[in-house]
Symmetry: C3
C-alpha cells in the first residue's frame, strides 16, 4: 500500500513539475514595430526580469525591423528586399508612435517627455534587457520575407533566429504570455 502511495506521489510530483505554464517565465511575441508598443513590451520585459522571472521575447513581422542596427549594411540584396529595407523604420531610434505621430512631432514630443521624466529610452531598455539576460529571438520567416540578414541586427547578447515552434515551446511552459 505504502509503495503504491509513494509511486503515485512521485507521479503526481512529476506531473506538477512538467505541467504547462508551470514555470515562472514570461514569453512575449513582439509583432508591432510601433514605438509605443515596443516600449510597453520592453518595460514589461525588463520589469519581469528584475522580478526574477525568466523572460523570452520573439520579435516578428514589423517588430523585426526595429532590431536592425542603422549603422550596419548588407550588400547584394535584391530589389524587393531593398525596397522593404528602405521603407521600414530602421533601428529603435527610428520608430514612430502608433497614434498622434503627426509627421513626427508627436513622436518627438513623447521622446522629449520621456527624457524629462527620466523614463528609459527604447535603446536603454534593450541594454538593460541584455544585462538582465532577457532572451531575444527573431522570427526566421519574417527575416526571410523582408529580406533582412542577421548581420544587420543590433548587438545583443545571444541574439538568435528561430521559427514559430521554438516560440511556442517557450510560451507553453511560461506562466505568463503576451502578444504585443
Amino acid at each position: 500500500m505504502t509503495v503504491n502511495i509513494e509511486r503515485e506521489l512521485a507521479e503526481l510530483k512529476a506531473k506538477v513539475e512538467s505541467a504547462p505554464g508551470a514555470e515562472n517565465k514570461l514569453t512575449m511575441v513582439v509583432f508591432s514595430g510601433d514605438l509605443d508598443r515596443q516600449l510597453a513590451a520592453m518595460i514589461i520585459a525588463t520589469g519581469a526580469a528584475a522580478m526574477g522571472m525568466e523572460v523570452v521575447l520573439f520579435f516578428t513581422f514589423w517588430g523585426t525591423a526595429a532590431l536592425r542596427d542603422p549603422g550596419k549594411r548588407v550588400n547584394g540584396k535584391n530589389l524587393m528586399s531593398k525596397m522593404f529595407g528602405f521603407m521600414l523604420p530602421k533601428g529603435t531610434n527610428a520608430l514612430k508612435l502608433s497614434q498622434m505621430n503627426m509627421a513626427g512631432m508627436g513622436t518627438a514630443i513623447m521622446k522629449g517627455l520621456m527624457k524629462k521624466k527620466n523614463v528609459a529610452s527604447l535603446e536603454q531598455l534593450f541594454a538593460v534587457a541584455g544585462e538582465l539576460a532577457v532572451k531575444i529571438y527573431i522570427c526566421e520567416m519574417s527575416m526571410d520575407l523582408m529580406g533582412f540578414e542577421k548581420e544587420e541586427m543590433i548587438e545583443y547578447p545571444n541574439l538568435e533566429v528561430c521559427g514559430v515552434a521554438t516560440m511556442l515551446a517557450h510560451a507553453k511552459e511560461s506562466s505568463l504570455q503576451f502578444f504585443i
Copy 2:
C-alpha cells in the same frame, strides 16, 4: 493514517488535473482584421496544432469580416448592415496590411514576397487549420452588430457562432492564450 494520505493524494490529484491552464491548449482571440495580424494568428494556430496542442480561435470584431466568403450573398439586409458589409474587406483575400498598405501596393508586394518565399497564403493557412482540427468560433455579438449571417461565412469544418462566455471557458483551461 494511510487512508487519510490516500484521500489527500486523490484530492490533490483531482486539483492538479482540473487546475486552470492545465490543458495543453491554445486559445486565441482574433480581433484584428488586418492581413498581417491574421497571418500571425494563423501561423501560430497551425504551428501549435502541428505540435499536438488543441487550438481554439475566437474571431471577433474586425476579425469576423475576414471570415466572410466573397462568393456568398445574403439578401434582405437593412441599410446599416449593407453599408458595413460593403465597406469592410470581404474574405481573406481582401485583407490589407495594418502598415505600409500604400493604396494596396504594400499588400501586393507582401503577397508577392510570400509566394516567392513559399510562405503559405492566408487561404492556405485556413485550409491547413481545418485539416489539423483547429476549432473556429465566431463572436455572436460581432455578427449581430455588423449584420453578418452565418450563411455568408467561409466553408470551414464545424464553424460555430458563440458568445464571450464560451471563449472564456476555453481560455481558462488553456495553458496558452493570445489576443491578436
Copy 3:
C-alpha cells in the same frame, strides 16, 4: 516512511496552491485607447467577472486617456501636459474606432448599431465592471508621462495608480492574461 510521505504530500500541496497561474483570475493590460479595443476589453472583463473569475485591469499608455472624466479639470499643468491632454480623446465617450472612423461617421454608426442591438455602451460596461468588483489600476508611468492627475479620472470603486511590478504580480498568478 509514512511521515516522509506526509511531508512530501504537504510540500506538493503547497506547491500546487502557489503555482504560477493557479488562480481563477484574469489580468488584462489595456494599452489601446481605441473604442473597439476598449469595448473588447470591457466585454471580456465583465464576462469573466460574471463567470466568477477575479478580474484585474491595468490601463496604460493610450488606454489611460480614456479613463479621464471629461467633466473634471486640473489646473496648473505645464504646456506639454496641456497639449497631450488636449489632443487625446477625453473619456470613454470620445474614443474612436481604430478602423473606419471616417471622420467620426464610422464611430457614430457603430454606436448607433450598439444602441439598436442593445449592446452595452462603454460607459455602461464600466458601471457593470464596478458592480462586479473588477479591479482597475492605472499605470503610474503613463500618468506621469502624459501629465494626467488622479483627480481627473472617472469615479470608479477603488481606482488605484500603480507600476508595472504590481501588474506583473497579478498577471503571474492569473490563469488568463491578455494584452489589448
